[in-house]
Structure formats: C-alpha cells, structure tokens
C-alpha cells in the first residue's frame, strides 16, 4: 500500500504542465531519433544530455526517459513501413512487420506493434512500482563492501550474460575503468594516467565518450550501408487501429511470455535488443503458427515489440536501485544522474523520493503520451525519411563536436570525442559491447573507491567481502556469472568437439542480421 501512496505522490509531480510539455518534447525528439537510421536512443539521449545540466533532476530525467520511450516507438515505425530498423532493438520487428505492411495492412502492423509495446512497457513499470520500496528497505544495509559487491555483480553480469564475446567484454570494461581513472584520484589526491598531457588532469568526461562512441561511431557504421527506402503507404485508418488492438488479448500467452522475457532481460543487463531477438526466437519455436513466421504473422510482431519495451522500461529499475544500467541508454542516463548531483543506488529511494516516484509516475504517463503521439505523427515522420542521409550525417557531426566542446570548453574534448568515434566504429564492427565500456567510465571511480574503502575498513583483508549474508551472496553471484561463459564453453567442448565453433558462428550471425 505504501507503494501506491508514493506513486500517487509521484503523479502529483509528473502530471504538471511543464512536465507534460517536457514529455511531449522528449517523445517527439525520441521518435525523431528512432525514425532516423544512424541515430538511436543512446545517441539521442547523449546528444540531449548537455541541455539538461541546468534543469531540476526530476525534469531532466522525465525529458530523457520520454525521449527513450519515443525512440523505442519510433524505431518500430521505420521497421514496419520501410524495413529499416531505426533502432537495433527493433530489428526483430522487421521480420514480420514489414511483410504485413507490404501486404497492404500497414495500419494493422503498426497498431499491433504499438499496442503490444504499450503492454510490455506497462508490465515493466508495474514491476518497478512493486519492487521499488523493497529495494529501498535493502538499501539501508549497504556499506562500502556491499557497494563494491553490487558493482562487481554488474560488471560480471555483462561478461556472463551480455551476449557479446566474454573476453571482448572484459577488455571493454578494462578500457572504461582506465578512462575513469584518468585525472585526480579522489582518495589520495594524486594525478593519474595523464600520460604527460596536462589538460587530462580534469579527467575524461563520459559525455565526451558517449558522443563519440554512439554519435560518431554509429554514424560511421550507418554510412557504410547505403539505405534504400521503399516506403509503403503510411496512412492511418482509425477503425483499423481499434480492430487490431481489440485482437491483441487473443494472443495473451504470447504477450505475457514476451513481457516476462523482456523484464528478465531488462533487469539483467541483456538489454532490449537481445530481449526482442530472444522473444521472437522463442515465439517462433512455441507458436502453433511458427512455420508462418516471417510472412507477416501477428505474433511475430507482438513478441519482439512487447519484449523490447518491457526490457527498455525495466532496465531503469536496476539503474536507479543498484546503479547497474540494464541497457546502453540506461547507462547514459545514469551518467546524467550523477551530473545532476544524484547518486544512483539504493539510497536514492530513501533520500530522493520525489525524484524516484516522479520518474515512475512519469513512466505511466509518458508511455501513454508516446502511443498517442506516435500514432498521430506517423505520416510526418514517414515524410522525414525522405531527407537524404547525406544531409543528416554532417549535422550529427556538428552536434557531436559542439556538444563535446560545451561540456568543459575544451578543444581536447573534441579530439577525444573523434577518437572515441573511431573506437566505437571498430568495437561495433567487431562485436565489442559498448554498454559495459560506458558503464565502467561512469561508475569505475565509485567501484574503485568502494573497494579501497572496504580495504581500509578491513585493514587489507579480502575477508570483508564474505562477512555477512548479503555481501557474500552478491560476491558469489558475481563470481558465478564471471565463470559462466567458461563453464558453458567447457560443456560445449565436451559434448560435441566440432559443434562449438559452429554455435558461436551462428550466434554471431544472428547479431549481424
């Protein structure tokens, strides 16, 4: 009951005129980046981040999270109408969405996608609503060793379950840690890793890193493939919309299953992309009409969309509660949180009730706003697709350059940003994951501090990480996740010596699609 009371209080914060206006702006910008290929939710949120520095934290997070919802919805629009996924997480929606639209039912495809997406998001928000205060209770038991254990668990879960090659994840994490360590050490006050460049004493701001990694990096990946948009009619017939939404409950099992997959993948850092692929794959295997998947099957749209949005929404819970972002976008938002002066982690639920519940309430409202706006703006954004990529690309470059500069009025940051762009391109091409890299840049410092504080408490004994049930469980869970890929590899090798490489190759192929 306590949760519901808090939620009502949150609504009084979220449902005010300025915040509703921010939601509309955020959702529209989000749909824009979602629709434009080469820009996605992580880039959009990073591009918008510098503008939020002067805002109230709760207003800033409402703007950024609304942009996220908009981007998730916008990504599905282009997947269905043009067979171009505007977002990596809506790739799976193209499999059945585009065939259905091509067969003359674009409205049904869009309405089905939006309806199931809204359902997925709703399940995600409800999950957050009910788990939030439980998290707050656990919060008070957290000291430095527990914090370190949670960070450790976050890093380990990327290695064990992130879906990318484990050693590449480790390298990405390591680079992030090293970048976080650049500059003045908060514990001893000494200057570290500046490699003789005095300007690096201030450290490398994570905004500079994300602008390069996501802005320039994804642009380079996107420019590689030339886009050929074959648009189908994008007129919306409202009766058709209601008919499609009314049909949704008939696929209740698919909806619930996909929402469950999405929530699970969102809370563990699998992310929306992995969630939508997994959900599509499972639906194809278990659906009675599984053979028809790929030809415009309703469940082939429902499954990836529901999971995508459930994962996107629930990814915010571990970000807020534990400081573990469940997706790349959440990782960028978490960096924002720290810039606004908030510490993600359990104490947020105790100290910043207005912020947390305002955000949760805004998630309910924001998703409704997003569904309404996306339906209304489909024709407009479909027209936007005709702006040539050659015009959009240099504008994105300029936004990234100016954004990187404006963080701390430093030219070096622009050069670094461009360097991160090349790194992002290489990493993207070779399936190095970007989310753990960003995560390590954002919380690498805090993890190190927590570790060193724990060591001071215990006078150098590692036993402090096994001193009570909570911290032991976290550390053991982290170790298990870290060793999981090794164990799986071993099992696979024992079962079929020749099969291992084949499995890895086909897993990689799935991601290439």
């Amino acid at each position: 009951m306590d949760n519901l009371e808090q939620l009502l209080h949150g609504f009084t914060i979220a449902v005010t005129l300025p915040h509703l206006a921010l939601m509309v702006i955020g959702v529209l910008l989000g749909i824009l980046v979602g629709v434009l290929p080469g820009l996605g939710a992580p880039n959009g949120v990073s591009l918008l981040l510098p503008l939020t520095f002067g805002m109230q934290p709760v207003s800033a997070i409402i703007l950024l999270s609304s942009m996220y919802w908009g981007a998730l919805f916008g990504g599905s629009v282009t997947s269905i109408l043009f067979n171009i996924p505007g977002e990596p997480s809506s790739v799976a929606t193209t499999f059945d969405g585009y065939p259905m639209a091509r067969d003359g039912r674009p409205t049904t495809a869009l309405a089905t996608a939006f309806g199931s997406a809204a359902f997925g998001a709703l399940v995600g928000v409800i999950l957050i609503t009910f788990l939030a205060s439980w998290v707050a209770q656990v919060a008070l038991a957290f000291g430095p060793p527990e914090y370190f254990a949670v960070y450790f668990l976050a890093f380990a879960s990327f290695v064990g379950m992130g879906g990318a090659p484990p050693i590449k994840t480790v390298v990405a994490l390591g680079i992030g840690f090293a970048i976080a360590a650049i500059g003045i050490d908060t514990v001893s006050g000494s200057v570290r890793l500046t490699m003789g460049i005095d300007e690096l004493v201030k450290g490398v701001n994570f905004v500079v890193a994300v602008m390069g990694l996501f802005g320039i990096g994804e642009l380079l990946v996107a420019v590689e493939e030339e886009f050929h948009a074959h648009a189908v009619s994008s007129k919306i017939d409202w009766r058709e919309v209601f008919r499609a939404v009314a049909q949704l409950p008939r696929h209740g099992i698919a909806l619930l299953r996909s929402a469950a997959i999405g929530c699970w993948m969102g809370i563990t850092p699998g992310g929306p992309t992995a969630a939508s692929f997994m959900s599509y794959g499972i639906a194809k295997r278990f659906s009675r009409r599984g053979r028809h998947f790929g030809t415009g099957e309703v469940e082939g749209i429902i499954s990836p969309e529901t999971a995508d949005h459930a994962a996107g929404t629930s990814a915010l819970l571990p970000m807020l509660a534990l400081g573990i972002p469940g997706s790349a976008t959440a990782a960028v938002m978490m960096g924002g949180l720290m810039i606004w002066g908030l510490n993600p982690g359990p104490m947020l639920f105790v100290d910043q009730k207005d912020f947390v519940w305002g955000l949760i309430a805004s998630m309910y409202v924001g998703n409704i706003v997003a569904v309404a706006l996306v339906l209304l703006t489909v024709p407009v954004f479909a027209a936007l697709m005709r702006i040539p990529f050659a015009v959009i690309a240099p504008l994105i470059v300029i936004i990234c350059v100016v954004g990187a500069y404006s963080v701390s009025n430093s030219y070096l940051d622009i050069v670094l940003m461009l360097g991160f762009g090349v790194l992002g391109y290489l990493f993207k091409k070779l399936f190095y994951p970007l989310a753990p890299l960003v995560l390590a840049i954002v919380i690498g410092d805090k993890a190190e501090d927590a570790f060193r504080q724990s060591m001071l408490m215990s006078k150098g004994s590692l036993g402090i990480f096994f001193q009570n049930r909570l911290v032991t469980t976290l550390v053991v869970a982290g170790m298990t996740l870290l060793l999981l890929p090794l164990v799986l590899q071993f099992v696979r090798l024992r079962r079929k010596p020749g099969d291992a490489s084949h499995g890895a190759a086909s897993a990689e192929k799935v991601k290439v699609i």
Binding site: G174, A178, G421, K509
Partner: protein
C-alpha cells in the same frame, strides 16, 4: 578492402597498447599496500594488466584461421571503406581547422563542402544550409545557453 582478421588483430593491438600504457604509467603512482591503504596506482595497474591479457587472447583468436570468424571473413569492403572515409575525413579536417578559423566558419565550410562538392544538394541549398547552421549554433549556444564556442585564431587576429 579490409578483412575481418586484419581488423580484429589491429583492434587487439590498439587495446593492448593502451593497456600497456595504462599499466606502465600507473607504476608512477605506486602499486600495492601502504600506510594510506591501497595505493593510487594499484587499480589502474591491474586494469592495464587485464586489458593486456584480454587483448592478447583476442589477438590470438582473431589471428587463428576459421573458428568464430568463419561467418564474416570480410569486415569492410572497398566501397564501404570509401563511404566511411567520405564521412570521417571531412569530419576530421573540420575538427582540425576549428582552432584556426573558429567553430562558426568551420561549420559553415564543412556543411557546404560535404553537401555541394559531392553534388548531394544543389549549390543554392548547400549555401543556405551552410549559412543557417552557424546561425543556429550562435543563437542556441552563445545566446540561449551562454556557452562561448571557439572563435579561432583568425577572429583573434582581427580583434574579435
């Protein structure tokens, strides 16, 4: 064209080199345990070592024939490389001239160059966008957010 193998190897060398630099330069801060607790260099040093070890593993896996790379042997084809360079090279030049001629002039020239020279847009439209972009930057940053963008050595020479 660039094969997947070459790209894997060069990326591994790049990350490994970074790891070595991190490990070596953190030795200056001291590693291990002292009176003040864990020394400042310890964490970065370990990170550097982990990056080096991971890069070595990626290097070996990337260099081995077949295996996980079988699915995509070619990472970047010649046409793709040309497109990527077509975006990146002008962007790099743009960044390089900012200290010289300032953000506004550089942005205008950059927009004009990438739109008009490859004939993506008509002369007139490119010119219009080249003028509109720095104007928008000026209004948003210098006026609304009070962030001064670099005006460059050229402007300084004219005493602006």
């Amino acid at each position: 064209m660039i094969s997947r193998r070459v790209l894997e190897i060069s990326t591994a060398v790049l990350t490994g080199g970074f790891g070595v630099a991190v490990a070596v330069s953190s030795l200056d801060n001291g590693i291990g345990w002292s009176a003040a607790g864990v020394d400042a260099g310890t964490f970065p040093f370990l990170t550097g070592v982990i990056i080096v070890l991971g890069s070595l593993y990626n290097l070996v896996v990337g260099a081995l024939p077949g295996g996980t790379l079988a699915s995509v042997p070619v990472a970047v084809t010649r046409t793709e490389l040309r497109r990527v360079a077509g975006l990146f090279v002008p962007a790099a030049i743009y960044v390089a001239v900012i200290p010289l001629i300032g953000m506004y002039l550089a942005s205008a020239l950059y927009i004009f160059a990438v739109l008009a020279l490859p004939r993506h847009q008509s002369m007139l439209r490119s010119l219009a966008m080249a003028v509109a972009t720095p104007l928008a930057l000026y209004v948003v940053f210098e006026r609304m957010f009070l962030v001064s963008l670099p005006h460059g050595a050229l402007a300084a020479a004219f005493g602006l």
